[in-house]
Amino acid sequence: MPPSDDQAITGTIFDQSAILSIKDLSRMCQVDERHIVEFVEEGVLNVIEISSEWHFTGDALRRARLAVRLERDLELNLAGVALALDLLEELQRLRRELEARRS
């Protein structure tokens, strides 16, 4: 018997509509702000400029955390992380297409 809806914790979708400052992102990824700047400079993260200040969307959190994991666990440099992220995205797209053709 599933618990009824009224006891459930309500969450919010954390996506393009969620706006993060560089400070937020740095705290959430547990890296310092300089490192976030490096990610932006390498093209790993997209940035939105609002009155000359950097902001990020909620989607950037997933990407930044993935970048941090790859960097740390695989001992990759920044360029390697950027390349890996691009290739992973491409791989995911191709896998989806393959799946579509198979079904």
Binding site: D5, Q7, T12, F14, Q30
Partner: protein, 311 residues
């Protein structure tokens, strides 16, 4: 606790050089990294490899481990002698907040790799937690609550990192897409002292759906039609997320024709579309009547399906 042969895990000899260990780690880490690997037990293997590397890459820990290993075999139950690690200094955060095996915890302690040393940006605020869940597509289509069982790292009363099972009943936001995160405010780690707790982020993936294929916010369905329905046009019953609809198949359709029902995909903002991809199903020719119909068909149409091949 169980004694683990870290050399075997890494596939290196007991007298391997630091360079050899590093090389072995990089190769295995790439192979089993959960973000990259498609191997079945990738996550478990990756943790095992990370744990082994954490010990073998540090000359101090490796020496301590070797001393223990002289008297033990892998898989054997053993209890580390008191103060076995005194005189060895462990420092820094290891590869990730991944929970290592009990053996590792007992040997090297939570402080060896809990990530605390790097997580001190905001004193008074608990850490955020992150988890991934597999969700049925209906939860996103209709909203509703789902129960998830998550394994969460927690610091116990003795300051040790333990993995705790936690069951959460979550109201799934309608229209969530694969790869998106649900933020549950205040459901992360408790704060040290009296600060605010961290948040919990749940990244969503969909289980394969029996009817629909998901592509971002769009859904698609393969719909079988009879050859005459495709050729002459027809109105056919089609399942969609919002119920059965009568779909108009235009005359002259063929296998692979794509019909779009705007806004009937995942109810995100903006909502996705629903695509119907036609499949032409052939009736079996397993009785005289059907065979005669096919023969009449062939006689009536001078049809060469291989014309474009020059055959």
């Amino acid at each position: 606790m169980e004694f683990k042969d870290y050399y075997k895990v890494m596939g290196v000899a007991r007298d391997a050089t630091e360079a050899q260990i590093k090389q072995a780690y990089r190769k295995l880490a790439r192979k089993y990294h959960p973000d990259v690997s498609k191997e079945k037990d990738a996550e478990a293997r990756f943790k095992e490899v990370g744990e082994a590397y954490e010990v073998l890459k540090s000359p101090e820990k490796r020496a301590a481990y070797d001393q223990l290993g002289q008297n033990h075999r892998a898989g054997e139950e053993f209890r580390p002698p008191p103060n076995w690690d005194s005189g060895f200094e462990f420092s820094g955060a290891g590869p990730g907040n991944s929970a290592y095996s009990d053996g590792f915890d007992q040997l090297f302690g939570a402080q060896a790799r809990s990530g605390r040393s790097r997580g001190e940006f905001h004193a008074g605020r608990g850490e955020d937690h992150h988890a991934k869940v597999l969700l049925d597509l209906e939860a996103s289509l209709n909203g509703g609550s789902r129960t998830f069982t998550l394994r969460m790292p927690e610091i116990d009363d003795e300051g040790r990192l333990v993995s705790k099972e936690r069951t959460l009943n979550v109201q799934v936001p309608k229209g969530i897409l694969a790869g998106q995160q649900i933020r549950l405010a205040g459901q992360g780690a408790r704060a040290p002292a009296s600060g605010t707790p961290g948040d919990l982020y749940i990244e969503v993936e969909f289980q394969p759906h029996p009817l629909y294929r998901v592509d971002g916010r769009d859904l698609s369905l393969e719909l079988p039609v009879a050859p005459w329905e495709a050729a002459l046009g027809a109105s056919v019953k089609t399942p969609t997320p919002s119920g059965m609809v009568d779909l108009k198949v235009p005359p002259g359709s063929h296998a692979g024709s794509k019909l779009r029902l705007k806004g009937r995909g995942i109810p995100a903002s903006p909502p996705g579309d629903f695509y119907v991809v036609l499949q032409v199903a052939l009736p079996a020719a397993n009785d005289d009547q059907a065979k005669a119909a096919y023969a009449a068909f062939a006689a009536a149409l001078a049809f060469n399906p291989r014309a474009s091949l020059g055959a």
